[in-house]
Symmetry: C2
Amino acid sequence: MRTFFHLWLSPVARKIRLILREKGLDFDPVIERVWERRPEFMALNPAAEVPVLIEADGRVLSDGTAIQEYLEEAYPDKPLIYGDVHQRAEIRRLVGWFDQKFNREVTANLVEEKVGKRLLGQGQPNSQAMKAGYANIHYHLDYIAYLMDRRRYLAGEEFSLADITAATHLSCLDYLGDVPWEGHEGARDWYARVKSRPSFRPLLADRVPGIAPVQHYDDLDF
Amino acid sequence: MRTFFHLWLSPVARKIRLILREKGLDFDPVIERVWERRPEFMALNPAAEVPVLIEADGRVLSDGTAIQEYLEEAYPDKPLIYGDVHQRAEIRRLVGWFDQKFNREVTANLVEEKVGKRLLGQGQPNSQAMKAGYANIHYHLDYIAYLMDRRRYLAGEEFSLADITAATHLSCLDYLGDVPWEGHEGARDWYARVKSRPSFRPLLADRVPGIAPVQHYDDLDF
């Protein structure tokens, strides 16, 4: 059986959990408190970060992008990066959009400030960062709606890693009640479709110790 | 002919320039002052970031990781992500190490503070960030030396995208004289080998307006 080290509200670890489930690959999820810098974990990944995947044969994989590409190459049956080279580039462009740009402009300013600092005992969240996060998210929700006016899924006609990546960031923010769904119906309709996939269920069951989710977090009809 | 939009000390744009040269793909390099938010450029990449590649047939590609994977798929002849799925995952793990971890711990603290802020007119660099960058770089240089004690190149026996990625970050820092080569001979020997590749020459000819490089920047025998 595979072992998968993750943290509750790590978008990139959530991305890999969704990929594993979408591809029907079984795994034992293990919470790794990376800030404890366990020597056994550091030996698996000297970067001391989740996600880390241990395959059934003991091979170790780390780094979100490296694992995502590995899973596509090793288990190509249900592709999440599909199509010709240009379609594939469009999927990866949007994966980068959410894992880099959205993460920097929104997720880091809200999830890391509110949850990361608390778990690490680093004091109060920075109110300026939070203000920036709340302001920036509207533009990204508009971009999702813009894409959904033109396509069935974010990167094209099929569900892909772009939908997974965007949804994992939004799911972390939604746990905290930080997604202003009102006024963003296009983004909400798309998220409701992704959220209702069976692969998403374990994410909706996540509970961060000491931090309850908003009431609609696991509601498929939010 | 391809057109490639970049900035002088953008490690990820340097990465794509090196991939294009290593694969023997011709392109016209164009400096894009992204902070001017040119409408024509925003239409190419709504993220308003370099790198952006326009293929000879007019197809547009953006996002560093998306372009790197596209170039491997579209031009597989001289692979820079080589080997079986585990070798390929090891290459991408190290690409992630430098583009994410090293970037966050070192490059952002030094290159963005010293050069980015100056180009953008954002005032003085943050001295605490710079201090962190100067402290963090030693550990990464040690990691390069550790890998070079065990392998011919960073990710294995062949030159790969891992070497390219690490070298682009170090080349930006080296321009500013911010790499403490003394005491890090293992990392220096590896960098000297990468720096002497013909693909590296155009990077060594880069000059940021108003900021001269250190004397040894383009010296192959530094």
